[in-house]
């Protein structure tokens, strides 16, 4: 009994004092999916592989969209991406008030035409 009393008085609280102390994630914690849009080639493999159909890729208009509220962080899209533009971040996606706020839309740059590069015309 004395041992327990002394242990409780001298030791600190058993819980993590959140939010004063932030929670440390491990390097492989699955939080949310991020896309580096400059590297993306819009092949659509991630959209085909997603088991909850959260990712929608349109190749013609070069748009990549993810519905974060449908994503179950299974990591399949990150594993299948051929150019490794997708990555899994540690911090989870914070809650939002409306369903539309969970959708993230990204648009890629326009494709550089080969003839313009050869003639030396201005490239944007």
């Amino acid at each position: 009994m004395t041992k327990t009393v002394i242990k409780n008085l001298l030791g600190g609280p058993a819980t993590l004092m959140y939010p004063k102390k932030k929670r440390t994630f491990t390097p492989i914690t699955r939080g949310r999916v991020e896309n580096n849009i400059d590297k993306c080639i819009f092949c659509g493999m991630c959209g085909r592989r997603c088991p909850t159909y959260a990712i929608v890729v349109t190749k013609d208009s070069r748009e990549w969209q993810i519905d974060r509220l449908k994503c179950c962080t299974c990591n399949l899209c990150v594993e299948i991406c051929p150019v490794k533009s997708l990555s899994m971040e540690n911090q989870y996606f914070s809650p939002v008030k409306e369903k539309e706020a969970g959708i993230l839309k990204l648009k890629g740059k326009e494709k550089v035409k080969k003839e313009a590069a050869e003639t030396g015309a201005e490239v944007k």
Partner: protein, 359 residues
């Protein structure tokens, strides 16, 4: 002439983690009959095989239940692999065993905490869940998620654990074992806990066998039944012995679960010592054509996964028979003749996992 009353128990009750309903027919505080009702969380998961092919379905199988999540994906992967004749590499078998035993440890510690809360010992509940956090941290460090692991797939496992992390896991479990011994000595020796559990909810060995009891409920009544002795995954290389008690009451079930937790810590240490090097998965070619019954020992008992394929990418039938479904008729037998005040205790020793029962 005693007056009969019908008292509804559930679906919302502080003691129940998930909704189930019993209509208790009582005569002056003694129960004479009980009628179970389920279907509060029926999601119809078995029809999702029409929409997701057999490789993606393992993610649905993971999400049948939160506490027994890894064992469902393990049973499903085993059923499909046996149909297709795939030989999983040895290292993957050992890794699956390690995660399965860690699953068992965290489920039993959670049960100890909820049982303590049921008979009013709230500080013991808090201490048990504090220990369980250690196991969930191990899950997060090795797979990336705490509850729904998503690490088993048809053909092996998706991640590897290197030798250093394995040693770290064994050391952390050794520290956990010391704290666990302190808590379990309270369960075993405390006078007031023994008063609430001993002699309550008795079922005989013969009744347990004919009524289809599985898991710790059967082992506490003297039946030596443990599916790990069949030798699936890496259990054929480890020595597993079913923990059997003969008394058949709530106290015996509590003892069986405590002993199984210590046995699992030892099994993880054995598996981490014997694990060979090699690949962790194998490429899957073709589609399943055939059927197979796969039996796995979950923390709550024996679970059967039945898969049937006819050559297309979608399975034809997938059925899960969970241990709680099999224990409910025995629970009715146990409830007859007990006092109304003991009902929450007795139903908790069944360890009901209703989201599995009603998939």
């Amino acid at each position: 002439m005693a007056h009969k009353n019908v008292i509804p128990f559930g679906p919302q009750h502080p003691v129940l983690p998930e909704p189930i309903h019993f209509d208790l027919v009582t005569e002056d505080e003694k129960i004479v009959d009980a009628l179970p009702s389920i279907s509060y969380v029926h999601r119809g998961l078995e029809r999702l095989i029409e929409k997701r092919d057999f490789i993606d379905f393992v993610h649905v199988a993971d999400r049948i239940c939160g506490l027994c999540s890894f064992m469902h994906s393990l049973g499903y992967s085993q059923a499909v692999e046996e149909i297709m004749g795939i030989e999983v590499p040895e290292r993957a078998l050992y890794l699956r065993t390690i995660w399965a035993e860690l699953s068992r440890i965290h489920s039993h510690i959670f049960w100890l905490g909820v049982a303590a809360d049921a008979f009013g010992f709230e500080s013991l509940f808090m201490q048990s869940l504090r220990l369980r956090e250690g196991v969930l941290d191990i899950f997060e460090a090795t797979t990336g998620a705490r509850v729904i692991l998503g690490v088993c797939k048809v053909g092996g496992v998706r991640r590897d654990i290197d030798a250093e992390t394995l040693k770290g896991i064994v050391n952390r479990l050794a520290t956990l074992k010391k704290d666990l011994e302190e808590i379990c000595s309270v369960f075993i020796d405390d006078y007031s806990i023994r008063h609430r559990l001993a002699g309550v909810g008795y079922i005989s060995q013969q009744d347990a066998y004919t009524l289809g009891c599985v898991g710790p409920m059967a082992r506490a009544s003297g039946l030596s039944m443990d599916m790990r002795t069949i030798g699936y995954a890496a259990y054929k290389y480890l020595d597993v012995e079913p923990m059997v008690e003969t008394t058949g009451d709530c106290y015996a079930r509590c003892l069986v679960r405590i002993r199984e937790t210590f046995q699992s810590i030892d099994l993880v240490r054995q598996a981490a010592g014997k694990i060979p090097e090699g690949p962790v998965d194998i490429k899957v070619k073709g589609t399943p054509n055939g059927e197979y019954f796969s039996r796995v020992e979950q923390p709550r008992g024996e679970v059967i996964h039945y898969a049937k394929g006819n050559g297309s990418r979608f399975l034809q039938r997938f059925r899960v028979r969970v241990p709680t479904f099999s224990n409910i008729p025995a629970m009715i037998k146990v409830l007859k003749g007990s006092e109304v005040a003991d009902v929450p205790n007795i139903i908790l020793t069944l360890d009901p996992c209703i989201s599995c029962t009603e998939r």
